[in-house]
Symmetry: C2
DNA sequence: TTGGTATATCGGGAAAATCCGATATACCTT
DNA sequence: AAGGTATATCGGATTTTCCCGATATACCAA
């Protein structure tokens, strides 16, 4: 786990919002209901909620994924993103011990 | 507490090192012994240990202070910096609840 | 007051981040 | 195969970060 990479990924208001929204997909992405929440939330839902362009949101999700904070699954033409709770636990542990 | 400002402050290898060194001044800044550790560690000690220039380290400490992660005391011609443990507790709390 | 030491601030060149529009890729449907 | 939809990648203008040298400020000692 690259601490600096994780903190850089967290150094952006929109990316923090996305992570927070992904805590409760059913609450924050009701449109997603038709596809179910098993895999996470697809890029388009997140993009519409941020108000930013598709390319920007796709890149932001890639940043979060490179930092390990989310994982993704491709299902058909959709990519579903979800939080990686292990990474948050590891982050807190590293703040307590390494920083 | 501005989450983004805190994460930006933590998004730099040298600043993370400084915070870690300040966990144990006696161990990491033995030269400081003559002045005592009551107030923290002065800028020059930290600067020498990083190997960066004085102006850079002074600015880095200011960044950490604006984020609330350290506090400083001026004593004579020295400014002593120390960790603000409350800020780390608040950070962990905010990761657990807001992010 | 003068000279020395410690720290902060200023100005800037180089590198990285931000966010966009355009385009490429992948997959699905007919 | 052809057209449509979802996502990723590319190229770039703008802003921010990184780290420096030079200079300003604050304090101390003779």
């Amino acid at each position: 786990m690259d601490q600096v990479e994780v903190f850089k990924a967290l150094s952006n208001r929109t990316r923090l919002q996305i992570l927070n929204w992904l805590r409760d997909p059913q609450q924050n992405f009701p449109e997603q209901a038709e596809n179910g929440f098993d895999h996470g939330v697809c890029v388009g839902q997140i993009q519409r909620k941020t108000g930013l362009t598709q390319s920007t949101v796709s890149e932001y999700l890639a940043v979060l994924q490179r930092a390990g904070l989310v994982s993704s699954v491709r299902v058909g033409q959709w990519t579903y993103y979800r939080r990686n709770e292990d990474a948050f636990a590891a982050l807190i542990n590293s703040i307590n011990t390494d920083i």
